[in-house]
Structures are given as C-alpha cells and as structure tokens.
C-alpha cells in the first residue's frame, strides 16, 4: 500500500481573468520510508502540491489517497474528518517553525499528542523522548522566542513526529536556517524516513540540499516536468 497516492491532481485558483492553474494533472505514488524532494522555482506550485496532499487545500480535480484512504476525488470526499486524518497520519514542518509562542518546547510537542487523545503523562513521556532524540533535552522549558532557529525547527520536527505519522510534509524546512543547520535538518528527515518508515516529502528550491533523496520531482508552472533518482 502506498503512503501517498495522487492521480491527475489539479488545483485552480480564482476564476476568469485571475485564474491560476497552480497544479496541473500531477500524479505519483510514494511508498512508506521513501524520501522525496520537490524542486522548482518560486511560484511553480510546490506549496500548493504539498498542501493539497496535506488536506488543507482542496484540489479542484483529481484524487488524493493517504495510507490507502481515498480523501479527495474532484474535491474532498464528503463525510471525511480531514482534521482527524491530519492529526493521525500527517506531520507538518514549515519554513517558519510555526511553534505556538505561549507554549514551551515541551508543551508544543505535547499539544500534538494531547489533541490526538494521549493522556498528559503519556504525552509528556513521548515528548521528552522526542526532544532527547532531536538533541533538545537541555531546553524543554524554553519558549520558542528563547530558542535558536535551528532548535525551533527541531522542536517543530519533534511535533511533526509526535503521532508517528505515515507521511511527513516539509515545506522549505531549511530556508530560514544557515547551511549547517539546514544540512542537519535534512539529515534528520532522512533518518526519520528510514527509521519510522514514514514517507517524507520535502519541498525546496535549493538543489544542494537534495543529495541522498530517493526521488526528486521537478515542478514548473504546476507540472511535474522531471522525475529523477537522488
């Protein structure tokens, strides 16, 4: 079974004069544990592709299947609890860490677990374990404002991993970091793909960051124009 499967995915923004075809007829499958890079210039539709797979951007046409569950078929499938799929099966990492500013590093990870039904104690234990794995044990009680960019991004990764998602979606996770921290984050994502058997889809426009990826999709004007092995 595929972790992610899209078929003829098309996303059109606006109508008439302002109509933009952000994604046109994209199709691919990703198996668990696979590490995918999506490369392309600005405005090519990378984020749109990722958010459509991430169930926060309704596709205009085509199908989205996550972990064998059909979720979109020319628009959302009626009666599906998308939030539930997001919290159980998807993990998100963004360019800006998107941590909640009034929660500590530890609480930011715990919140993802608690909304998914874990008890406070279980959430805390798992969050501490994740922070330790991401080399953050020293600062569990720091607020995001008191973390470095690299540390904050690692907390965000810990949060994305919290519920052992089948799919991890990362949109330019290294763009706000220096080269070294960027390389570190990429290395972690690779490790996660291997160890957690998660499908990891990483959007970037930095060619140098994609070495060691299983496959690389290149996007131009909403179309996947090239697929290559990493």
């Amino acid at each position: 079974m595929f972790a992610v499967e899209i078929a003829h995915l098309t996303k059109v923004y606006g109508q008439g004069e302002t109509k933009v075809v952000a994604i046109a007829d994209a199709s691919f499958q990703v198996v668990p544990g696979e590490l995918i890079a999506i490369l392309g210039p600005s405005g090519s539709g990378k984020t749109t592709l990722l958010t459509s797979i991430g169930l926060i951007n309704e596709p205009s046409q085509g199908r989205v299947v996550i972990d064998g569950q059909l979720l979109a078929d020319d628009g959302w499938l009626p009666g599906v609890d998308l939030k539930r799929v997001r919290r159980e099966k998807l993990g998100f990492i963004f360019q800006h860490h998107n941590l909640i500013p009034f929660l500590t590093a530890l609480e930011n990870v715990m919140v993802a677990l608690e909304i998914n039904g874990h008890s406070r104690a279980a959430a805390k234990a798992r969050a501490l374990e994740l922070l330790a794995a991401l080399n953050l044990s020293r600062r569990p009680h720091n607020y995001p404002a008191a973390l470095s960019g690299g540390e904050a991004q690692r907390v965000a990764i810990a949060r994305a991993l919290a519920n052992r998602p089948k799919v991890i979606l990362a949109d330019e996770p290294t763009a706000a970091l220096d080269t070294e921290n960027g390389k570190n984050v990429m290395a972690m994502l690779k490790q996660i793909a291997v160890e957690n058997r998660s499908a990891v889809l990483v959007v970037t426009h930095d060619q140098r960051m994609v070495e060691g990826f299983d496959r690389i999709f290149e996007v131009r004007d909403g179309r996947i124009v090239k697929e290559s092995k990493g």
Binding site: T47, K83, R87, F102, E107, V111, I115, N116
Partner: protein, 403 residues
C-alpha cells in the same frame, strides 16, 4: 494541557489588569444593586420596627411616610374602642435639620407615647442606656446619630438629653432616627416662641375685633376658641394599632374608613406605597445604570477577547493544521472569556464587601442578587466570546504557512 491558561500566563499582566478594570465596573454594578436593596430596607425600617397592623392617617393621603398626614391625637381612644383592636397609639414624625459642630445635621424625629404598655412605635432594642422615663426633655437616639449617652441637643425651645441608644435605624430617606416623647415632639413641631405667640394672638384679636356685629361675650368666646385651635399642639401624623388575635383586618379598616377624614392602611398597603411609590423610580434608575454598565462590560470583554483572538490567528491556524478539534479552539477562547468574567466578578465583589460599610447610604448585599449577577456575568462572557469564536472558526489552516 489548558491552552487558555498557557496563553494568559504568557501575558498575564495585560489580562489581569483588564480583568481588574472590569472588576471595578462590576463593583459599581454590585453596589448599585446593594444601594437599591438598602433603599428598600431603609424605607421599611420604621414600618417594621413599629410593628403595627394598622396605620390610621388623614383621608385621601398616603401618609405618614409618603405624604403629610395630620389627625387628632385623641382619635387613639376611638380607634382603640373598635372591636378587634388590641391597642392604638399615636405617632408623630418630623424631619429635623439643625447645625451641629458647624455642619448641617439631619435626622428624623419620632414622637411616641413613652408610657410602658401604652405606646407603639418606640425605639427598638436599646444597645446602651435606658428608655425614656419621663414626659420631657429625654431622648433615645440611633447609633448613626453618633451621640454618646448624656449628650444634649437643642431642639425648638429646649435642650434634650440622650438617655438611650438604639441600633441602626434610619428613615425612608436614610436619615438617622431619634425618639422623644409625643408631647416633646409636638412641642418641637408646633410650639412657637412666646413673642411669636403674642404676635399671632394680637393679629387674631384685631381680626375678631374688626368683625361687625359681634357682642362682647361672643367676641371673647371666639377669641378663646381661635387661640385654642391655633395654639393646639395635639396633632399627630398617624395613629397605629395592633389587632387582637383573630381580628379581621378588612372589617376594621372598613369601620375606620367610614369615619370622616380618616383612612386606615394595612402594613401591606404601606409596603406597597413605600416600594411602588417612593422607591420605584430609584429602582428603575439604578436598574438602568446596571444594565448599561453590564452592556459596557460585555462590549469590553468581547473586544478584548476578539483582539486576543486576532493576536492568535496564526496559533489557531497552526492548531487546525495539526488537526486540533474545533472544541479545543472554542474552549481556549471561551475559557479566557469566562476567566476574565470570574476575576472581574470576584474583584468587584471583594471590593464592595470591603468598602460597603463606608458608603454614605446603606448597601445591602443580598445573596440572591449576587448569585443572579454571577450567572448574568457568565452569560455575558459566553456571549462576548462568540465574536472571537466566530472569527477563530473561519481561520483557514493554510494561514499557518505564510511567513
């Protein structure tokens, strides 16, 4: 993990200050309710401490509290003779304003029949001193008069000495109450200085002498009658009565009402006159202010919650993105609103509790009023949070992505 509390903890200064500010507003709301209850209690105080079943006043008046009423003192004997009446006694009421220690000093003077077993409406339980024991120049004051035993006060033509102090008793307009004998009260009210009496007498005599066709004897008789009438001080404001057990109030009222110039009011009717007539306007006024202040509180809470929701758009979008249920987000906003209301309510409550004794008018804190207000505050907070909640529900999780 409670998101509402975590958020507040992050900027607790702003939250607490706003809540306390609202607390001051709610304090005013609470004290206004207390003032109204105080007004009612004050208005009823004399009525209740008198403990009469029947109030006989001048016909066509709502006396003696709402309107002036004058009747003859000796009606007490006629009223006492009505079958079913156990006891009847006259009372005189007057507001007195004098200068004391360089300041205007107002109080309410009650004249009553001081003789044990004969009077009604005298001072309630004394907390110091003794009751009035002689016909003249003694006085029992309420605590609020701030007069020690043995102190004297000059009223009318004489000095009166404080012999007893009773608890807190005020008139319907909130002035402290003092008691003297009926005879003294009538003196204070009606007796003029000797010069004034001589002047009046001369004026009347001149007028009688000027009437044509009066013989000498007639003239003398007329002069004496007129002097008797104009100098008579045997007028009271009401005669109150207690009924014998099992007596029929309605029948006795009807009997007395048939006599000329009199009206008999039951205690219920007095309560009605006092509440409906005298306090109704104050009630509406205070009620209106309370409603306005509550609306203002609601608007403030709603604005604060709304702006704090706007501050959290990105947080809310992120929560939605990672799959939070709507109830998590609704609870965060609603709990903040309720907490703000709770802090404000208790701030206001504690404030009024601590200070209500120092208000110039009595503030009566009735538990039921406080409970009702508490529920109203919670309802206002819930409603006030709806604008913020509505905004939060419309946040697109994609908003978490932007830079």
């Amino acid at each position: 993990m409670n998101l509402a509390l975590r958020d507040i903890r992050h900027h607790r200064g702003r939250f607490v200050l706003t809540s306390i500010g609202l607390g001051l507003l709610l304090g005013v709301v609470i004290s206004m309710g207390g003032i109204y209850r105080g007004l009612v209690a004050d208005a009823m105080a004399i009525l209740q401490s008198t403990g009469a079943d029947l109030w006989v006043v001048q016909q066509n008046t709502n006396g003696p509290f709402a309107e002036s009423s004058r009747i003859q003192e000796d009606l007490r004997y006629r009223i006492a003779a009505v079958p079913g009446v156990a006891q009847a006694a006259p009372l005189s009421f007057q507001s007195v304003q004098i200068e004391r220690r360089g300041k205007p000093f107002r109080f309410f003077l009650i004249g009553y029949d001081y003789r044990p077993g004969l009077g009604l409406g005298g001072p309630p339980a004394l907390i110091a001193g003794r009751p009035i024991a002689q016909k003249h120049y003694q006085m029992v004051v309420s605590q609020a008069m701030n007069m020690p035993l043995g102190d004297t006060i000059h009223l009318g033509l004489h000095d009166y000495t404080v012999v007893g102090i009773t608890g807190k008793l005020v008139s319907s307009s909130g002035d402290p109450v003092a008691f003297v004998t009926l005879a003294d009260a009538q003196d204070i009210q009606f007796k003029q200085e000797n010069n004034a009496i001589r002047n009046d007498r001369a004026r009347l005599d001149a007028w009688v002498a000027g009437l044509p066709g009066l013989g000498g004897a007639q003239e003398r008789m007329l002069k004496a009658r007129l002097a008797g009438l104009t100098e008579s001080t045997h007028t009271v404001n009401t005669v109150v009565a207690r009924l014998a057990p099992g007596a029929e109030l309605g029948r006795i009222k009807a009997v007395i009402g048939r006599w000329n110039h009199l009206r008999a009011l039951s205690t219920e009717e007095q309560v009605e006159i006092l509440t409906k007539g005298m306090i109704e306007k104050a009630r509406m006024q205070l009620g209106m202010f309370r409603i306005i202040l509550l609306v203002i509180s609601g608007v403030i809470i709603s604005l604060i919650i709304y702006t704090s929701t706007l501050d959290k758009i990105r947080v809310i979008a992120t929560l939605k993105l990672i799959g939070s249920q709507n109830r998590v987000i609704v609870a965060m906003i609603l709990q903040q609103s309720l907490l703000m209301g709770l802090i404000a309510y208790f701030t206001g409550y504690v404030l009024v509790r601590l200070t209500h004794k120092n208000f110039p008018r009595r503030i009566e804190l009735v538990p039921l009023d406080l409970q009702v207000l508490f529920v109203i505050v919670l309802v206002i907070c819930t409603v006030a949070s709806l604008v913020g909640i509505r905004k939060a529900m419309r946040v697109d999780p994609a908003e978490a992505l932007g830079g």
